[in-house]
């Protein structure tokens, strides 16, 4: 990582916000509209189709709640990693990032068990448009989780060596955003029945 010569441009900060963090804010801004598009479409359909309630009933609230718990906890780990990075403690930051990654992996595990179960009961992507939305929205979110995990693993291994500690905060922001999306997916897909 450090072999790449970083241009002076990257080190400038006319706004006072570090470049990486500023970019993540813009990334989050553009993600809001992506999730907004799919969730907006879903909400409009859901309100227009009260009969979908009978499909929504079959979602597993407990799995959703467990995943919310896991993501909230991993968010806590991410913010603790950020705190450690602030104190220039790369080792500690890496430790918390690995815990965050563990949370993400647990989230994916719960998700796959849940989906396997649902697919076994015949609720597939194509069985009903409710389920199409369910799998698409949660699937897009899941892809974000996976991407976040990969990036976090790279940053954690750097942070352990004390390199680029400012990135810990940036990836944390992204992770909190992924968490917030789930905070809204949870009531939309699981609770509103």
């Amino acid at each position: 990582m450090s072999s790449f010569p970083r241009p002076i441009a990257t080190t400038r900060s006319a706004t006072g916000i570090s470049t990486g963090k500023l970019a993540v804010w813009w990334l989050i801004a553009s993600e809001i509209v992506i999730f907004g598009g799919v969730l907006g479409s879903y909400v409009m359909h859901r309100i227009g189709h009260p009969e979908w309630a009978s499909q929504a009933e079959h979602t597993n609230t407990w799995a959703g709640a467990l995943n919310t718990f896991i993501l909230l906890t991993s968010s806590l780990m991410a913010v603790l990693a950020h705190q450690a990075a602030e104190h220039k403690d790369g080792k500690k930051a890496a430790k918390f990032l690995y815990l965050t990654i563990l949370g993400g992996l647990m989230f994916l595990t719960v998700k796959s068990i849940e989906w396997t179960n649902e697919i076994h009961h015949g609720f597939t992507l194509t069985s009903h448009t409710f389920w199409s939305f369910y799998y698409t929205a949660a699937g897009i979110h899941g892809v974000h989780v996976i991407v976040g995990l990969i990036i976090m693993a790279i940053i954690a291994s750097d942070a352990k060596k004390g390199i680029d500690l400012q990135r810990v905060e940036a990836v944390g922001l992204y992770w909190h955003f992924v968490d917030i999306v789930w905070i809204f997916l949870f009531p939309l897909l699981y609770i509103a029945k």
């Binding site: 241009p7 900060s13 470049t19 970019a23 992507l125």
Partner: protein, 579 residues
């Protein structure tokens, strides 16, 4: 002025001495592949986008040649293509539309010029995320590979128009392109991903990496415009990205997001598409406007009239563009009451755009205008775009749109906007920045031949199409002989006139290509600032080396348009000149 950036200036001068120079040398001895295909240098990536865009323009141009020949001479074997069947025709129309917008206008106006110009014009040595930049181009290239592959798969290329309305686009039994349709959609989605990454890079670079002393209101208009356009793109494309995933599932696994039989709604796609599709018009318009601002100020030696007004109108246009999308759907089945609201917002958006054009015309007042090739292109942009702009009023007026919707009037209208944007302004940019890009001059005489050989046929293509549209010719019809009312005397003559003009226009592009590539290698050597312009890129050597400013990154003392300042002997005043 410079004091505002002191905390950063000190850090910068430190970097300047060490990191930067080592950086430039580190890249000196790369092999050809690494230098041109794996480079993270913003200028190389800009060139990659530019040349890829030019290549795609050839594809788009060939497609329009083939299907226009079919319209003018139904059933003929088109030289170089062969017989155009109905399936071919739809595929060609779709290819032309999507290629020209997604793979020509977007990469050239935003990605190529943005990459090349942003670091140079704000006095930085590169983009803030060079490797992200390279990834963005690679994704873009991948999207092209997918698109071109889709021409050769079973069933052929997608033929459901660039709007890709379901259910036609969603089901193979309707569109008969079981592979072409999903591949087209994947290509578009990859292209969006590439530009999202690029856009984040652009915005961050401008916000954080301006030269010391450069305030936001010292930034050249073209950079403002490219960045505003990137933001517009980021804010509008989201729903369509989501929609593309949904449509892809509809096509490949059989979900029913847009299938009324399964509880979906085809109208939803139209909204998702145009919610992006209309801001997209301004995404490409604004950079074109920015190019014109640079060129006309340089060649009329004038300060830009009301610099801040231009920025405010650009922001206003961008903001309003989120409220107008459904004017593409007036008669497409939306509730007629909504059409009233969208008609009002649509006509209101004409105000900031008109004001921008007025500002440019006012800039010419009191100037010292030299009609060089880039200036001719920039002026032609204003002159031609005006017609494109005013004809939009017909279509934005809901009542008149009932008749004009989906006719050739629409086609002529948006080509009077898009051709000036994607070609006239781009030619202005390419010829204006050519000495900077290659350190050589283009041939001026051949440049003017190409100019007139493009502008005159351009008008002879699209004025006939306005007339045909007013007489009821509707779009995407490969053979009008089935419609008695559309074969009245004179109508086919107009179609033939448009087609022949197109052939002439395409032929004249050869002049450009020869002039461009010959001059790039063999043209007379150009100095660093041949046009005596103020902006920072002209203060770097031509062509700029890796790292851009070998004598140290510049510090900025004033705005970009201080031409003919009364206190100065010189009629230009570079942004980085201390006095």
């Amino acid at each position: 002025m410079s004091s505002t950036a002191t905390p950063e200036a000190s850090g910068h001068s430190h970097d300047d001495g060490h990191g930067h120079d080592g950086h430039a040398h580190g890249h000196a001895e790369q092999n050809f592949f690494l230098k041109y295909f794996w480079s993270t240098d913003h200028k190389i990536i800009g060139f990659q986008y530019l040349f890829t865009g030019m290549f795609m323009a050839l594809i788009g141009g060939f497609a329009v040649y083939a299907f226009r020949m079919q319209i003018a001479f139904p059933g003929m074997s088109v030289p170089g293509y062969g017989r155009v069947t109905a399936t071919d025709y739809n595929a060609l129309v779709t290819t032309h539309g999507s290629v020209m917008i997604f793979w020509v206008a977007m990469p050239v106006l935003i990605a190529a010029l943005g990459n090349y110009l942003i670091p140079l014009m704000i006095g930085a040595d590169d983009m803030v995320f060079p490797r992200l930049n390279r990834l963005s181009y690679q994704l873009f290239l991948l999207s092209i590979v997918v698109l071109i592959a889709s021409f050769f798969v079973q069933g052929g290329a997608f033929g459901g128009a660039w709007t890709s309305y379901p259910p036609l686009s969603a089901k193979p039994e309707y569109n008969l392109t079981p592979l072409g349709a999903p591949m087209w959609l994947v290509a578009v989605a990859l292209e969006f991903a590439a530009f999202l990454l690029g856009g984040i890079n652009f915005v961050t670079t401008l916000m954080n990496s301006r030269a010391p002393g450069m305030k936001m209101f010292d930034v050249p208009i073209v950079i403002w415009m490219i960045v505003i356009a990137s933001i517009l793109f980021m804010a509008s494309v989201g729903p369509l990205v989501a929609g593309a995933i949904m449509l892809l599932f509809d096509q490949t696994v059989g979900t029913g997001f847009f299938d009324p039989k399964k509880g979906g709604d085809p109208v939803l796609w139209q909204h998702l598409f145009w919610f992006f599709g209309h801001p997209e018009v301004y995404v490409v318009l604004l950079p074109a406007m920015g190019i014109v601002a640079e060129v006309i100020t340089t060649f009329s030696r004038k300060k830009l009239f009301a610099y801040k007004t231009v920025i405010y109108t650009a922001v206003g246009t961008g903001a309003l563009s989120f409220f107008v999308w459904a004017h593409h759907q007036f008669i497409a089945g939306i509730d007629p009451r909504m059409a009233n609201i969208f008609s009002v917002t649509t006509l209101l958006i004409s105000i900031p755009v008109a004001e921008m054009v007025f500002v440019y015309i006012a800039t010419l007042f009191g100037g010292s205008i030299r009609l060089t090739t880039p200036m001719l292109w920039a002026l032609a942009f204003i002159g031609e775009f005006l017609l494109g702009g005013v004809t939009g009023i017909f279509l934005g007026s809901s009542g008149a749109d009932i008749y004009f919707h989906d006719t050739y009037f629409v086609i002529a209208h948006f080509h009077y906007t898009f051709f000036p944007i994607a070609f006239i302004a781009v030619f202005a940019a390419v010829t204006y920045w050519f000495p900077k890009m290659f350190g050589k001059y283009m041939n001026e005489a051949w440049g003017k031949v190409h100019f007139w050989g493009t502008i005159i046929p351009f008008n002879f293509i699209f004025i006939p199409l306005f007339l045909l549209g007013a007489r009821g010719d509707h779009r995407r019809i490969y053979d009008y002989t089935h419609f008695p009312d559309l074969m009245k005397p004179g109508m086919q003559d107009l179609r033939v006139l448009a087609t022949l003009s197109l052939v002439v226009l395409l032929a004249f592009q050869v002049v450009f290509l020869v002039n461009y590539f010959y001059s790039a290698f063999k043209g007379p050597k150009a100095e660093a600032n041949p046009w005596k312009a103020n902006t920072l890129e002209w203060q770097a050597p031509s062509p700029p080396p890796h790292g851009n400013f070998p004598e140290g990154l510049p510090t900025v003392y004033r705005g970009p348009y201080e031409y003919s300042h009364p206190d100065r002997q010189d009629d230009h005043w570079p942004q980085n000149s201390p006095s």
